[in-house]
């Protein structure tokens, strides 16, 4: 009604108003029309007549006017809106437009950029390739490399932004000439380009290979000590843990391993190939041991995780064949951050945390429990003179308290990135320091990185990636002391000196030195030349350099080198270089996409080590082997070269059908002359079913099938094993003349292991919210390497041979669900699960090989245990019982009663990450689970000695449940001091089921508001709380402070790490 009145008045006062030439200047963004009108009124003195509801309904406007005519101002004000205006005298009347006037709306040019929601805060969040269409028309364009677009559309039209993997968004133009859009990924994230080997890439939409991407976002708020640890629970089929056969699991420095899709090799390395920016990283020998030094510190600890842009884990043949003879255990590609065109960013991050030994310790008897058990065990041994029971004193020492402390870790990270003209750069520096929970174990890492991309001309780009770090590790290895030392012993005499009645490692902790310093550089330099459109030549020349110096001093006051002193100075140096040259060709003709790669690569590994050991010093301050009375030197090393040619062809038709073929030809100096060269091939295909026209299942927005087959190899089993090797040691001389003695047998037909991989997969996207990826695989490794007994007429007991084959097959699933997506609240779950079965298919001459606790038999899992079965405790006399081979209970332990039982391979395992976002808060948690599979606990075997070792060593607290009197139903036999030798022999008593659930990591993050940040000139800032190794559950939990699988596996506790962090960027 009000409008009618206005109109009536307007009609009465109908006067030409065009004569007025009032100028208007305006600069508003997203302002209400009414407020703009008021503004114009103030500038011009014109009155405005309008229906406030209509104006409100018409939305907001953005105007940029400088001395514009009023009419121009009004035109722009109403452009794209369903509004008309009329000027009558000094009054402007704004009214709802009639339908007829809408059609005549002019097209306007709209510009804007499209950004990814997920990439917010990153250097370059823009989304290229987003299709922008005008609704109801065929007019369309796509965003360019910077995410920008320009399109002409009616001012009142609607734009549709769409991109596979990001769904679609419709936005009304409303006359706006600048429309910036932020698009959120749908769960499938199909547009993601996965950069795989040698500059090749696949789009997730039609990916054939198995390449799992971990982004830097996944790595946020995770531990900073080593890179391999970060992947556990995130990558389906990847397992991380203590190195098989590591001999120092009680140490703070035990070796760790990463396994992808099970273990395929007996004699060669099972570690994946780690590649940083295209340059392979030497992670040690077959068992991650660093040759030439006493303590192996993984090179994966020398890298700053904050420098990582992404980690790609390659698993199938099409992805790994191109790594040839090194690819069969999977390949892990680490890409470091690059500078992005766009804004300069300066970021600083700090994290500080406490490492708490918590409840993960191995529970041993306290002094009173020990005394009680000792007495009982003493009495139980009839052979002992009961009147001579030793005095057990009144001391009460908690040796965990003695050796362990609260650890402290701090990290500072500074990075600077951006672009200047033709240069893009990323520069970072970081300082990481950790005082470990074990006394005298400190880690210091000072790292830096410079990544530069330089455009020289339109056709030439150069790049440089260099990361370097200085690492200092102070080491003290207490051995088993922290759990075997008796609680009735005190470390100190009343006068404060060390007790020496037992091997008091504290003395060593004080007097000995053990420091390792590593200077590490890895980087590469190279460039690309565009030869003609689509064809580029790329060269990458990289180096992985490590120089590790180890200074160990065994004091003359310490137990092991009493009155003499021993100084060891060792140096181990690795220089691995690599030179790659390749041609990449990419061409798109209509719906045909081609890409071709041809390349060659030369690799050289050079390891040299030397150590100087000096014995006998005048006093403890000298500590320099040069001044020792006796000096011993050792020098060692190895060299290896390899040469490879490789290629890949990829073709995609209409984004639906893709095929991929790869080959690699490898030559290695490690191998015999007959087999110096090997060729590996793979083929694969994928079909993106949902891109077919007939696909009309709305709920399944994406569906793809893939299959690949191919081979790759494993040549990593130590150098020169094929060659008959002579050595010339001092012991090989003959009467002062140098002598050469052959010390490894020759096997000229020794060859690499070859793995034949079938990989298939199904990818689904559901409701735009769920992404599911299922893969199945079958890896058959043939020509497995191992030392085999040979005819002694060769002069050797055993010689390396290709002895058999093993199959690893399994299924993996990765599931991403966007459970809730509200404006202020989001909940995303990433879940993965993997199942692997291992089976020996063939062994040399079908020979069964019995190892310490396991057995290798054709047809069985290679990790099958071969043990005497434990039958429990005889309630009558507390004696141990076993089953004999026929299943009858026996009181005698006999190795002949061993049977094949259970295997280490779990039924399934995986991880789950949940992320909750509420306004500026986000909460993320990582659970890791494992179901099935068995582990033998050496720790338990030795610490539940049932009285046998009690006189010298403390025991597991589980012994409190021992058998005491006839009729007792106990799982622990009667304890007898100094006896029960058989109880401690390997049996299923010490076999644990590995089923467990761990809350590995949880973090709470708060992003400071942009409004606030702008006031203090910061672009981004967040603070967070983080906890690692939070909780561990097994279904077989025992009583409190007893030992179950959690703490019986490795004696070294997994500390609970509580951290606080802050990141700011300008």
């Amino acid at each position: 009604m009000r409008l009618t009145i206005f109109l009536l008045i307007a009609g009465c006062l109908a006067v030409q108003a065009s004569g007025y030439a009032q100028k208007v200047s305006l600069s508003v963004r997203n302002a209400g029309i009414e407020s703009v009108c008021l503004n114009i009124k103030q500038q011009t003195g014109y009155f405005f007549l309008y229906d406030a509801d209509v104006l409100k309904k018409s939305g907001k406007v953005s105007l940029e006017l400088k001395n514009a005519e009023l009419t121009e101002a009004l035109k722009q004000l109403t452009a794209g809106k369903a509004l008309d205006y009329k000027i009558i005298d000094k009054t402007v009347i704004i009214s709802e437009a009639k339908n007829s006037t809408r059609v005549t709306q002019e097209d306007i040019i709209i510009k804007g950029t499209v950004k990814s929601k997920e990439a917010q805060g990153q250097a370059n969040p823009s989304l290229p390739g987003v299709v922008v269409t005008v609704k109801g028309t065929k007019k369309a364009t796509a965003t360019n490399g910077e995410g920008a677009y320009t399109i002409q559309a009616p001012a009142n039209g609607i734009l549709i932004f769409s991109m596979v993997g990001y769904g679609t968004r419709e936005i009304a133009i409303n006359g706006n000439k600048i429309i910036d859009v932020v698009m959120a990924e749908t769960a499938s994230d199909l547009q993601e380009v996965i950069v795989t080997a040698y500059g090749t890439s696949e789009r997730k939409e039609n990916q054939i290979g198995s390449a799992f991407v971990v982004t830097n976002k996944d790595l946020e708020n995770k531990p900073l000590d080593r890179i391999d640890r970060l992947l556990e629970g995130l990558v389906p089929g990847l397992q991380y843990g203590v190195q098989d056969g590591a001999d120092n699991t009680s140490s703070a420095r035990t070796r760790h391993q990463t396994r992808i899709r099970g273990e395929a090799s007996f004699g060669a390395s099972n570690e994946p190939l780690w590649v940083i920016d295209g340059v392979p990283l030497n992670t040690g020998n077959e068992t991650n041991q660093i040759l030439g030094v006493e303590t192996s510190i993984s090179p994966l600890t020398y890298l700053n995780p904050n420098d990582i842009e992404s980690i790609v884990v390659l698993k199938d043949a099409t992805a790994t064949t191109i790594y040839g003879a090194n690819g069969s255990n999977g390949v892990i590609l680490i890409t470091t951050k690059k500078g992005a065109s766009g804004e300069k960013t300066l970021s600083y991050g700090f994290r500080g945390g406490l490492n708490l030994i918590n409840n993960s310790r191995f529970h041993v008897l306290n002094a009173n429990e020990y005394r009680e058990l000792y007495k009982e065990s003493y009495i139980n041994n009839n052979a002992l003179d009961q009147s001579k029971m030793p005095d057990l004193g009144t001391t009460n020492t908690d040796w965990y308290d003695v050796f362990f402390r609260t650890g402290v870790a701090t990290n500072h990270n500074l990075s600077f990135s951006g672009a200047h003209k033709n240069t893009r750069y990323f520069v970072s520096g970081a300082y990481y320091n950790e005082k470990m929970i074990m006394m005298k174990n400190d880690v210091e890492r000072l790292s830096g990185r410079i990544n530069i991309d330089q455009k020289i001309s339109n056709s030439i780009d150069l790049f440089l990636r260099v990361g370097a770090s200085h690492n200092r590790n102070d080491i003290f290895n207490p051995g088993d002391s922290y759990y075997i030392n008796r609680p009735i012993d005190s470390p100190y005499n009343p006068d404060g000196t060390y007790v020496d009645a037992f091997y008091n490692k504290l003395r060593e902790a004080e007097y000995n030195d053990n420091t390792q310093k590593a200077n590490v550089l890895n980087g590469n330099i190279g460039g690309t030349i565009k030869i003609f459109p689509g064809l580029t030549y790329t060269t990458t020349n990289g180096i992985d350099y490590k120089s590790v110096k180890e200074n160990i001093y065994g004091s003359m006051f310490a137990t092991s080198n009493k009155n003499e002193g021993k100084a060891t100075f060792s140096k181990s140096r690795t220089i691995d270089w690599n030179s790659q040259h390749r041609l990449n060709y990419e061409k798109t003709i209509k719906e045909h996409d081609f890409s071709v790669l041809l390349g060659a690569e030369a690799l050289s590994d050079d390891l040299s080590s030397g150590s100087l050991i000096g014995y006998g010093f005048e006093d403890d301050y000298i500590r320099n082997p040069n001044y020792a009375q006796r000096i011993q030197t050792t020098v060692g090393g190895s060299r290896k070269n390899s040469l490879s040619y490789y290629g890949q062809f990829r073709y995609t038709l209409s984004n639906k059908y893709s095929v991929l073929g790869s080959f690699r030809r490898d030559g290695s100096s490690d191998f015999g002359s007959d087999v110096k060269w090997a060729t590996f091939n793979s083929v694969g295909a994928s079909w993106t079913v949902s891109n077919e026209k007939f696909w009309n299942i709305k709920k399944i927005d994406f569906a793809k099938l893939k299959l690949s087959y191919g081979t790759n190899g494993n040549s990593r089993f130590g150098a020169y094993r094929s060659k008959g090797l002579y050595r010339f040691l001092e012991n090989d001389t003959y009467n002062d003349q140098p002598g050469a003695v052959m010390y490894t047998g020759e096997n000229p037909v020794l060859s690499w292991e070859t793995t034949y991989i079938v990989n298939g997969g199904l990818s689904l996207g559901l409701f735009n919210r769920i992404s599911m990826e299922i893969e199945f695989y079958r890896n058959i490794t043939k020509g497995m390497l191992d030392k085999v007994e040979v005819t002694r007429t060769t002069g050797f007991n055993s010689i390396d041979q290709n002895i058999g084959s093993v199959k690893n097959s399994g299924i993996e699933m990765n599931l991403i669900t966007q459970n809730i997506q509200k404006k202020d609240f989001e909940w995303t779950t990433k879940f993965n699960i993997a199942h692997n079965t291992n089976k020996i298919l063939k062994l040399n001459n079908d020979n069964v090989k019995v190892l310490d606790k396991t057995i290798r038999v054709v047809g069985l899992d290679a990790s099958s245990f071969y043990l005497v079965r434990w039958a429990g405790v005889d309630p009558r006399d507390g004696g141990p019982l076993w089953y004999d081979a026929r299943g009858n209970i026996t009181k005698t332990f006999d190795l002949a009663n061993r049977v094949i039982t259970k295997a280490a391979t779990p039924d399934f395992f995986g991880g789950m990450t949940n992320t909750f976002q509420y306004k500026a808060f986000s909460l993320s948690s990582l659970f890791i689970y494992n179901v099935g599979g068995y582990a033998f606990s050496v720790l338990q075997r030795d610490s539940e000695s049932d009285g046998r070792n009690l006189a010298a060593e403390n025991q597991s607290r589980n012994l409190l449940d021992r058998w005491r009197e006839p009729g007792d139903l106990s799982i622990i036999p009667k304890t007898v001091l100094g006896e029960n030798a058989d109880n401690g022999r390997n049996s299923t008593r010490f076999l644990h089921k590995k089923t467990s659930l761990r809350l590995q990591n949880i973090s709470l993050n708060y992003n400071l508001s942009e409004k606030f940040l702008r006031q203090i000139s910061l672009r981004r800032a967040n603070v967070y709380l983080q906890a690692d190794n939070v909780a561990f559950w097994t279904p077989y939990d025992t009583k409190k402070d007893y030992n179950d699988y959690r703490n019986s596996f490795n004696p070294y506790p997994q500390p609970l790490v509580l951290s606080f962090g802050v990141n700011v960027s300008l």
Partner: protein, 487 residues
């Protein structure tokens, strides 16, 4: 502009091609050698490499001699009794060898003899090419060839002595010998045993073939390596074992006729064994294995035989009774500790004079001139040249009795045979002969009254006179036949 682009493209292409070519042309790139060790092929690219390999072979041979082999034929014989600490070759002392004893003498000897053989064969197979490559070093290479041939003969002969019955066990020596190898088999290869006849034929062939190569060392003075005379002397031994008496005498004559090697006098007899190798001091030793780097410790021969505290075996009553009281081989060649574990026992001083020290490396006499005399004596007896035989043992006995004149008188020819055998044992006890001598003479083993073995007598023929082939060998090598009496 287009021209410039084209030029750039050409330039680029050239670069690319060059880079590829550079990689391909590096043929040597894939021939990388380890550090501080070298592949077989590289070692034998130079004469120096072959020299090092021959030294390495001696070193390897010494390893099997010093730890077990050089004690085998005394410990298994009637010469020794065990002490409380006896462990080395104890199963052999008790005749309780088992084919499963892979880590003991049964497996060790087999493995280490073939280990040496492997080193030796590698040399022999590499030398022909070296000769064409280095024509001006042919003399050196010939010497290496000669030494290697003799070493191959020694390896084959020693293997046969331990693992095969003596030559005359069957009339035509058609019984199981040992695998003869001229090239190291590949890991999966099956290697069968040759007959004893084939074994001896090959040993003799190698020794004879070595002679022309070693001719240049006819007056060789380095006793630690193999000389022309060593080959001659060894031929006399092999022919003796074979029962080819004429040939035994022929080669013994040649060895004795050479004036570079003479019997030591009584006054420096002991030093022949104990002092550092030097021809002036001990011209009697034709070939010995010793090493300046050799330590006496562990279970090696000086500890087992001669260390007053550590010795594991001492002379039996039967052996002691062979000596006259004034025989210097009794009075000078034994040490009798006054206290401790071995108090009152007769320990040989052939390897160390009662104490084992790191200085003065022990020497293991592979062949001495006195053996050649004794070989000849036995061969001549078999040729019924009894007087000459008596003369030879007189030479040996006289040297051991410097204070009086020795006359060999014998009541019968068989009495002379007995005297020859006894003289041989007096002279060569503790030098790895006795047991081999017993079985090649088809005698039974009869230990004395102080026998403290589980087995004090064995009749001839006897399966136990040879060691079993180690089980691990039979398992890995399907063509290998086990010795009768073992499984």
């Amino acid at each position: 502009m287009l021209k410039i682009e084209m030029k750039k493209i050409n330039y680029t292409l050239i670069l690319v091609l060059l880079a590829c070519l550079a990689l391909i042309s590096c043929k040597k790139f894939l021939e990388k050698e380890p550090f501080g060790k070298t592949g077989k092929n590289t070692l034998f690219e130079t004469v120096e490499g072959a020299k090092m390999a021959i030294n390495g072979s001696y070193n390897s041979m010494l390893a099997y001699y010093k730890n077990e082999f050089a004690m085998y034929a005394d410990i298994t014989s009637d010469n020794l009794i065990k002490g409380n600490k006896a462990s080395v070759l104890l199963p052999q002392f008790n005749f309780q060898s088992s084919s499963g004893d892979d880590a003991l003498a049964v497996g060790d000897l087999w493995l280490h003899m073939y280990e040496t053989l492997n080193n030796v064969n590698n040399i022999l197979n590499a030398v022909p090419e070296l000769k064409t490559k280095f024509p001006n070093q042919v003399k050196t290479l010939d010497s290496i060839t000669g030494q290697a041939l003799v070493m191959r003969a020694i390896c084959h002969f020693d293997l046969s002595r331990v693992y095969a019955q003596p030559y005359n066990y069957t009339t035509d020596a058609s019984h199981l010998g040992i695998p003869l190898l001229f090239k190291t088999p590949s890991p999966g290869q099956q290697v069968a045993r040759n007959t004893v006849k084939e074994t001896y034929d090959q040993v003799i062939l190698d020794l004879k073939s070595a002679l022309p190569f070693l001719q240049q060392h006819a007056n060789g003075t380095v006793q630690t390596s193999i000389s022309y005379q060593a080959a001659l002397a060894l031929l006399s031994r092999v022919y003796l074992y074979q029962g080819n008496w004429e040939q035994c005498v022929t080669y013994a004559d040649q060895a004795i006729a050479n004036t570079a090697y003479l019997l030591a006098g009584a006054s420096n007899y002991k030093s022949t064994f104990l002092l550092k190798p030097s021809l002036t001091l001990k011209p009697e030793v034709i070939f010995q294995l010793t090493n300046t780097g050799l330590t006496n410790g562990g279970s090696s021969i000086p500890t087992v035989y001669s260390d007053s505290t550590g010795a594991q075996y001492s002379a039996s009553a039967k052996l002691k009774s062979l000596f006259d009281p004034d025989d210097i081989r009794l009075t000078q060649m034994f040490t009798i500790p006054k206290k401790g574990e071995n108090a009152g026992k007769y320990l040989t001083v052939k390897y160390a004079d009662g104490t084992v020290t790191a200085i003065n490396p022990p020497a293991i006499q592979v062949i001495r001139l006195s053996e050649v005399y004794l070989n000849r004596a036995e061969a001549k007896w078999n040729l019924q040249r009894y007087t000459e035989a008596a003369n030879d043992i007189k030479t040996i006995s006289q040297r051991a009795h410097p204070s009086r004149t020795i006359d060999i008188t014998y009541s019968s020819n068989s009495d002379l045979y007995k005297q020859i055998a006894e003289e041989r044992n007096r002279e060569l006890c503790f030098e790895n002969h006795r047991f081999f001598d017993i079985i090649r003479r088809k005698e039974p083993l009869q230990r004395g009254i102080d026998c403290n073995s589980n087995t004090c007598s064995l009749t001839y023929p006897n399966d136990k006179f040879v060691l079993p082939i180690p089980n691990k060998e039979v398992e890995a090598n399907k063509a290998m036949k086990q010795n009768p009496g073992y499984n």
